[in-house]
């Protein structure tokens, strides 16, 4: 066992043991190596971007002044943000209902909730296309961001069942005695949900939100079919750029996106004054009670 400078690792402190650390490093390399090369090649002075031909910043300049690329970025981030918000709400609600209640038709609802996960994307894309063209036409030429409405609706529809799955798995470990205790102490229904159930759900809400954000940001097929003339998103833009092969401009744009996301998250964490960061320095080895 590796001797740390504070104390030998406790029985459950897996992160401080070298086999697990080695494993994490290996997975980290696997995940990040292609990404690092991606970012490194955004400085490549070659239009084709196959072989390294020299260092340049000109593709960053191109990407930052490429209006349609920036617009696509903006659209993608907006769609992802709104979609994540609604997906988490809807997903948590339905997970709560399915976990807690017995009701006629429950198996049917259960099955229906699994559908969006199971449907092939192209099938759903076509379904949404037909829906917004024939059944419920989304008005054209609406001001931003309402013109993104059709895309956002489609994204929410395929994201919130994923969130529900994650939240339900978490709720399975909820100790009902706490609920009864709260009830005994006089808490009303909504109070109990707010103060007892939601905090228990919280890690799964985070996990679900991250999942929903990823699904939305990356989606191409469904977005393509629901987008219109004014609503280019980043994946759609990239997919069509690729017909002429991936130039370093695309790499530069992706690097900027990654950097923005990292900065954004750091800002968010700092803004809410992460209590774990504040508490850092006190026995970091103590596992959560």
């Amino acid at each position: 066992m590796k001797k740390s400078d504070q104390s030998p690792p406790g029985p459950l402190e897996y992160l401080r043991r070298w086999p697990l650390q080695a494993w994490l490093v290996m997975v980290g390399v696997f995940l990040y190596a292609p990404l690092i090369t991606l970012m490194a090649f955004s400085f490549n002075d070659s239009k084709r971007n196959i072989v390294w031909q020299g260092f340049t910043l000109k593709y960053y300049e191109k990407a930052l002044t490429n209006e349609s690329l920036i617009e696509a970025f903006g659209n993608s981030l907006t769609i992802a943000a709104v979609s994540t918000l609604f997906s988490v709400i809807l997903g948590a609600l339905v997970a709560l209902a399915l976990w807690r209640f017995r009701f006629p038709g429950k198996t049917v609802v259960d099955g229906a909730m699994a559908l969006p996960i199971v449907v092939p994307e192209i099938c759903m894309g076509v379904a949404m296309l037909v829906f917004f063209a024939r059944v419920m036409p989304w008005p054209q030429e609406m001001p931003w961001p309402l013109n993104l409405g059709a895309i956002i609706i489609a994204h929410i529809s395929f994201s919130f069942p994923f969130v529900a799955v994650v939240v339900r798995a978490r709720m399975a470990s909820f100790n009902r005695e706490m609920e009864e205790a709260a009830r005994d102490l006089g808490a009303g229904e909504w109070r109990m949900i707010k103060d007892v159930i939601v905090p228990h759900m919280a890690p799964s809400l985070i996990a679900g939100a991250l999942l929903a954000f990823t699904l939305s940001l990356d989606d191409f097929v469904i977005t393509f079919f629901t987008s219109g003339p004014d609503t280019v998103t980043f994946p759609v833009k990239v997919y069509s750029m690729v017909r002429f092969s991936v130039t370093p401009e695309v790499n530069a744009a992706s690097t900027i996106l990654i950097a923005m996301t990292v900065v954004l998250t750091a800002v968010a964490l700092r803004m809410q004054g992460d209590p774990a960061a504040a508490a850092g320095g006190h026995a970091p080895a103590a596992p959560k009670a």
Binding site: L12, A112, M124, A279
Partner: protein
């Protein structure tokens, strides 16, 4: 354990109402239209007429397509298994990490997946191809060893033949694992995080090794999380089409590639719809089996 809905009608309506409404209007209805298409036929180039025919389904279960279904299921299964093996220790490490590190580790796992899928796949191609980084590094090592061999008295090595890492099923599996890993890690983390630590500590105190504790205590308790992780990894992997398209070889096509071509090039939406729904029915059967299995196992634990 569950309440009857009648006991808290307001909460029930508030919790189930909005999601159900959304699901029906923006999912079931559009899907129902496509389901109707699967019983229809092309009428000219743009219209589809509902003729109530089963011919599309009959065509979809021809041996040609069945073979591809089975192969896709096998590849997706392998991907899921690998994601589980790779992802479980990661989820474990994050769960037991100090609180300060937890969010960061989670974000580190998610970050690659906020890059566009196509770009990530091209990055993987750059790593795997004939003159990609793996082969270049191996070649460098080989040549270095070749230079040293005569010093040790061995025969000099021949020319380096690059490994065929791309445009085959190996690359497809690597690509799929690469894309789907966080879908496994997040639910696992979510379930492991709420484990009662005292149970684990008790098991370790009683003399069981870590592996034994893992298998006998952790896995049964975290089974819902594992099951949901498997679910949301296997099914998208089954329906993946970009990865096999870009990374695969001449015989790596998966079912989603075929379905996609029906909706596009072949302009045969009814047939594409029939195959999509067939895929869904099969997946439902798989889910049902898995639900029964995990319920039995959960009962025995």
């Amino acid at each position: 354990m569950e309440q009857s809905w009648k006991q808290a009608k307001a909460v029930f309506a508030g919790a189930l109402g909005p999601p159900l409404f959304w699901l029906i209007l923006f999912f079931i209805v559009p899907l129902a239209i496509v389901w109707a298409y699967s019983f229809g036929q092309n009428d000219g180039l743009t219209e589809i007429s509902f003729t109530g025919t089963f011919s599309n389904y009959v065509r979809a279960i021809e041996p040609l397509y069945l073979k591809i279904f089975v192969k896709s299921a096998w590849v997706a299964g392998l991907t899921t298994a690998l994601c589980l093996v790779l992802g479980f220790p990661v989820a474990l490490a994050i769960t037991f990490a100090p609180p300060r590190l937890k969010t960061w580790l989670l974000l580190l796992v998610m970050l690659p997946f906020w890059t566009n899928l196509l770009i990530r796949t091209y990055a993987l191609i750059a790593v795997l191809r004939t003159e990609g980084y793996i082969n270049l590094s191996l070649e460098w090592l080989w040549n270095g060893a070749g230079g040293l061999a005569p010093l040790v008295g061995l025969q000099p090595l021949g020319a380096f033949t690059p490994l065929e890492l791309l445009h085959n099923n190996f690359a497809v599996v690597v690509g799929l694992v690469y894309v789907h890993l966080p879908f496994m890690v997040l639910p696992l983390y979510s379930a492991l995080d709420r484990l009662d630590r005292s149970l684990l500590e008790a098991s370790l105190d009683l003399g069981a090794g870590h592996i034994r504790t893992l298998l006998v205590v952790v896995v049964p308790l975290a089974l819902p999380g594992i099951a949901s992780g498997i679910l949301i990894t296997f099914i998208p992997a089954l329906g993946a089409y970009l990865t096999p398209d870009l990374l695969g070889g001449p015989d790596s096509q998966m079912i989603a590639n075929i379905i996609e071509r029906q909706f596009k090039r072949a302009n045969d939406w009814p047939f594409g719809a029939a195959m999509s729904f067939l895929l869904m029915y099969l997946t439902f059967i798989a889910i049902a089996i898995q639900a029964v299995v995990s319920r039995n196992r959960g009962r025995a634990a």
